[in-house]
Chain length 336, copies 2
């Protein structure tokens, strides 16, 4: 589950930019790993990377061709298979986040076999995880949690990692979802793990580390989401976070995909502490990250200032603003 | 995922009674579904059923041969395969709770194929579950929860179903683990479901039902177990219980398989309500079921009386005593 870098990003012939959002996420957060993009005729997405072919990619030392696109249903179009086989024959590994295993495509399986290449399916894993143990591990951990799914937990985690590293802190983003996997180069799509092993997989994602090292762990779901709280609590227990950040989208009125109302930030803090203290009695909230993209500038600023006052915690929009105040709070709570 | 009844229980040649505890559980709770047992030479387990062969089983209308034994590692001994093939050739389905799919054994897969028979692996399922929706369903639900794993949740659920039916109440035991599956004849081993679908599977297990009908749902794990709380919370949210019973073993000092201390019953009640109110705001505890097998009679009685007083709830040992007082409390809380 460790991807060979650098990457060639395969965009196929997808018809809009949104279909290439995984590829774009990799370029945004790991430009140093991205050698170029490979687009087929008619492709309407563009990550801004140079267009190169497989031969050029090999010359530049590319290790993996990442299928960084999602088409409807997560299926692989048949006319992409020849490109994948060509990449395998040229010595590249292949990585995807599709709903079907690459090895289930006979031509791809055969090409991987004859070239001794690795097929990396972000939605599947063959790791024999242990069940969670709940032992305290060395090093420090921060987890992003949310009032809902899709409220910016991955983005916030990556922004925190970047800000921490820029201050000279020792920090690693730890992926738990498929786009995050390509950005970290390692990890597990934790929602695809068998239920008995959720916290065990979270322990694997964030192993023992140096004192003072921070794992910044990408959260998933919400304790208040009636479909996904099992993933959330297993990730919480396995991550045993010292600190957490609550992510929120203030204009949403219903939990994603269900009829349930959005909880308050205070409810999320309380229930995260109530459940999280099982594996870390000192767990604490150190900030609030808000996606204010649906608010005007002035309204966003007023809203964030109000939250900061109400909770006595930094409240920022990690896209519009920056996460510096949350890192300040982290450093105040956990002096080096 | 619906087993054809009645059953022939296959015990193989296991070397002690404990190895046949699944078979024994079926005989204890569903004697009317059990036509006989099939033992090989040297078998040291005995469920008390008549020893019959496959031909006799077929004559008695048996639908499924249940491999009701676990040997170390959950593997199927090679010398049992011929018996399984013989049963398939005689027209029986096969059910197991082994760690490997029956269909992964070529001779078994071929025999099932040529006879059009069903292979039922309790640890696996091919149901395409939806994610949980959290909608209120019709009918009433009771869930057993625990201070730990293996504290009597299945036994308590079955005892409650039996007591409720004997009072003329409309109740069904709903299985969530492999032994429970054979006893209910339907269900899902919920710890084997992919993490994103835990609460969705729980919703499938306990669908809409008549007003006044009770689903008595077998609990799993514990909200306080660092390995399995994801399963527990998904089952809690998907079950949306109106009532729950806390199961407990008072002499245990550590959670099963980990170093964590056992929570108090009050902690379990509080955290179950805090999390469970997401899908049922009126969730309430209606009793305590204790496995007192490690206590002397007098100590057990004193202990149960103390709990009843402390919590203002019925506290019983469902094996030594009976669950009648919990059903009384249920009927007081939910008058017909």
């Amino acid at each position: 589950m460790e991807l060979k870098k650098p990457y060639l990003l395969f965009l196929g012939d997808v018809q809009d930019q949104l279909a290439a959002k995984t590829a774009q996420g990799i370029v945004d957060w790991r430009p140093e790993w991205c050698i170029g993009q490979l687009r087929l005729e008619g492709c309407k997405a563009d990550t801004g990377l140079e267009d190169i072919d497989i031969k050029t990619a090999v010359e530049h030392g590319v290790g993996t061709m990442v299928i960084g696109v999602a088409n409807s249903g997560g299926m692989l179009p048949a006319h992409w298979i020849s490109n994948i086989v060509e990449a395998l024959d040229a010595g590249l590994d292949i990585a995807t986040g599709l709903h079907k295993r690459l090895a289930s495509i006979p031509a791809v399986a055969a090409a991987a076999e004859r070239n001794g290449r690795q097929l990396f399916d972000a939605r599947f894993n063959d790791i024999g995880f242990a069940t969670g143990k709940g032992h305290k591990r060395t090093g420090l951990r921060l987890l992003t949690v949310g009032t809902d799914c899709s409220v910016g937990k991955k983005y916030t985690s990556l922004a925190l990692e970047k800000a921490m590293i820029s201050r000279g802190m020792n920090a690693d983003f730890r992926a738990t979802g498929q786009t995050g996997l390509f950005i970290s180069g390692r990890g597990v799509a934790i929602d695809a793990v068998v239920a008995d092993f959720i916290s065990g997989a979270a322990e694997w994602i964030s192993p023992d580390n140096d004192a003072g090292h921070w794992d910044v762990i990408e959260g998933q779901g919400s304790l208040f989401h009636p479909a996904f709280a099992g993933v959330t609590i297993g990730l919480l227990h396995g991550s045993q976070p010292d600190a957490f950040v609550v992510c929120h989208e203030p204009t949403r009125t219903r939990m994603r995909g269900v009829e349930h109302p959005i909880p308050s930030i205070q409810q999320v803090i309380d229930l995260t502490v109530d459940n999280g203290r099982l594996t870390n009695p000192d767990i604490r909230c150190i900030g609030i990250a808000v996606n204010t993209s649906n608010l005007e500038d002035a309204a966003a600023n007023t809203y964030l200032a109000g939250l900061a006052k109400e909770y006595g915690l930094p409240a920022v929009d990690p896209i519009r603003g920056d996460v510096g105040p949350i890192v300040d709070e982290l450093q105040r709570n956990f002096p080096a």
